[in-house]
C-alpha cells in the first residue's frame, strides 16, 4: 500500500488529513463567531450539533482525521530521526529562508494537542458526550460562561491559538506542495495564502475568547 510504504504516500496522508483539519478549525472559528452576535443562535447550533446521528458521524470522522494525522506525525518523525543518524552537528545554523515553524512542527503539534485535550474536557465531555449517554445538558452559552469566567483560561487559549497559527502557517502550503500543486509561481502564493488563512483563524478564535472572557467576567455588558 503506497500510502504507508512510500515516503510521498505517507506525506500525502499527512497533507489530506491536515487540510481536512484546517477546514474543521475554520468552520469551528466561524461557528463560534455566532455567539458574539447572538448567544441564542449559538445555543441553536450547539443543539443542532448535539447527539444527532449526523453530528455523531461527523465527530467520528473528525476524530479519525485527528488520530491518523497524529499517528503519521509521530511515525514520520521517528523515521526522520533514524535517517538523521545518531551524530549531531557541532555547529548548526538556520538559513534565513527557512521558517521556524517548519522545523518545529511536532512540538507545535504537541502544544495544539494538549490544548485540544483541555478544550475537549471543557466542552465536548460536558456537551455531546453526556447527551449521547442520555443525560440532560445545559445550553451552549452556559458552558462558555463556566469556562471563560475563569481568568487563567484566556492566556492558555491564546497560547494554543498561537501554536495553531504557526502550525497552519507552514502545514497549509506544505500540504499543497506535497500534493504536487505547487511550482515556482505557486509556492510563494500558497505561502502567502497560508499566512493569511492562519491569521484569519487565529484572529477569529482570539477575538472570540477575549470577548467571552470580558463578557462573562462582567467587564463588558454587550
Amino acid at each position: 500500500m503506497w500510502l504507508t510504504n512510500s515516503s510521498v504516500g505517507r506525506k500525502v496522508v499527512m497533507s489530506v488529513t491536515g487540510l481536512f483539519l484546517v477546514l474543521f478549525v475554520t468552520f469551528h472559528a466561524l461557528m463560534n463567531a455566532v455567539a458574539i452576535i447572538s448567544f441564542e443562535a449559538y445555543d441553536a447550533i450547539c443543539e443542532f450539533l448535539g447527539a444527532n446521528w449526523y453530528a455523531v458521524l461527523g465527530t467520528l470522522v473528525l476524530a479519525g482525521g485527528f488520530a491518523i494525522h497524529i499517528i503519521y506525525a509521530f511515525w514520520l518523525t521517528l523515521q526522520n530521526r533514524k535517517a538523521r543518524g545518531n551524530n549531531r552537528y557541532a555547529v548548526t545554523t538556520k538559513p534565513k529562508d527557512v521558517e521556524w515553524a517548519s522545523q518545529n512542527m511536532l512540538v507545535l503539534g504537541i502544544i495544539v494537542c494538549c490544548f485540544l485535550i483541555l478544550h475537549l474536557v471543557q466542552f465536548w465531555a460536558k456537551m455531546q458526550l453526556p447527551e449521547l449517554m442520555g443525560e440532560h445538558i445545559m445550553r451552549g452559552q452556559d458552558y462558555l460562561q463556566a469556562t471563560f469566567s475563569q481568568w487563567w483560561v484566556l492566556p492558555v487559549y491564546l497560547i494554543g491559538f498561537a501554536a495553531l497559527w504557526f502550525h497552519i502557517s507552514h502545514g497549509f502550503w506544505s500540504a499543497f506542495q506535497t500534493l504536487g500543486t505547487a511550482n515556482d509561481k505557486w509556492i510563494p502564493r500558497w505561502q502567502c495564502i497560508s499566512k493569511w488563512w492562519a491569521s484569519i483563524v487565529f484572529i477569529l478564535f482570539a477575538v472570540e475568547a477575549i470577548y467571552f472572557t470580558l463578557h462573562f467576567t462582567g467587564v463588558i455588558n454587550c
Binding site: 510521498v8 504516500g9 514520520l76 543518524g85
Partner: protein
C-alpha cells in the same frame, strides 16, 4: 593555521594543513575532493554550520578564505546522515546516491537514428527547467542540510531533468516509482518542506522540483 593568504581556496587551506601535519609526523585529515571547479560534487564539508560553507550557490572548493575573518575559529564537519556513513574524518560514503541513480535515473529505450533538428519542438521554459534541474551535481548538501536526512531535492532534480523532456517522458512513471522506492529503501528521511535543502544547495536547485516529483509520483500511482 597561520599566514593563510585570503585568495587561498578552502581546499587549498586543507592541503596546507595536511602538509603541516605530515611535516610534523602526524596523520593528515582525510577529505573528498576532485575537480575543484564546482562540477564534480566530491567536496563535501560542513563548514561553520553550512554544507559547503557560508557562501551561497558555491561548493566547498569555490569557497575562499577571504570569507573568514582573521582569528576566526572554523568548525569543519562531515555530512551527518545515516545514509551517508563516515568513512574517515571528513570523508563520507555517498554510494546511496549512485544506487538511486541506478534505479532509474537514465533513458533506456532505443532512440533509433538522429531526428531532424526541431522535429520535436520543446518550449524554452521546459528546456531551461530541465537544464536547471540537470545542474545538480549530487554532492549531498541537501541531505546534509535537511533535519530529516531527506534526499528529496536530489531525487526531484534527477526525476525533473527527464520528466520535462520528450526522451524522458516515455519511462517517467517507471522511473519515479523505482527511484523513490530505492531512496526509501536506503533509509533517507521524509521531506517536510522546510526548504533548508534548496537554501543550502550549491547549484540552487529549486524547491518546486519536489512538487514536480510528488506530482509525477501521484500521477504514476493513479494510473497503476
Amino acid at each position: 593555521m597561520h599566514d593563510i593568504p585570503t585568495d587561498t581556496s578552502f581546499l587549498e587551506m586543507m592541503d596546507i594543513l595536511n602538509e603541516m601535519l605530515i611535516e610534523k609526523g602526524e596523520e593528515p585529515v582525510t577529505f573528498d575532493h576532485d575537480c575543484r571547479e564546482g562540477i564534480c560534487g566530491m567536496c563535501s564539508l560542513y563548514v561553520n554550520g553550512h554544507p559547503h560553507g557560508p557562501a551561497t550557490g558555491a561548493t566547498t572548493c569555490q569557497l575562499y578564505m577571504r570569507r573568514f575573518k582573521d582569528g576566526d575559529t572554523i568548525t569543519v564537519e562531515p555530512w551527518r546522515s545515516a545514509a551517508f556513513p563516515v568513512i574517515k574524518d571528513l570523508m563520507v560514503n555517498r554510494n546511496a546516491f549512485d544506487q538511486i541513480q541506478q534505479a532509474g535515473g537514465y533513458v533506456s529505450f532505443q532512440t533509433g537514428g538522429a531526428q531532424d533538428a526541431n522535429a520535436i519542438p520543446i518550449s524554452k521554459e521546459a528546456a531551461d527547467e530541465a537544464m536547471d534541474s540537470a545542474t545538480c551535481i549530487g554532492c549531498g548538501a541537501c541531505v546534509a542540510a535537511c533535519k530529516n536526512g531527506s534526499a528529496m531535492l536530489f531525487l526531484s532534480a534527477k526525476v525533473s531533468q527527464f520528466a520535462l523532456l520528450p526522451q524522458g517522458k516515455a519511462e517517467a512513471k517507471r522511473r519515479v516509482k523505482a527511484m523513490l522506492a530505492k531512496m526509501d529503501e536506503l533509509g533517507f528521511g521524509n521531506c517536510t518542506n522546510t526548504g533548508a535543502c534548496a537554501a543550502e544547495c550549491p547549484k540552487n536547485i529549486k524547491l518546486s522540483n519536489i512538487a514536480r516529483l510528488n506530482r509525477e509520483f501521484l500521477c504514476a500511482k493513479c494510473s497503476d
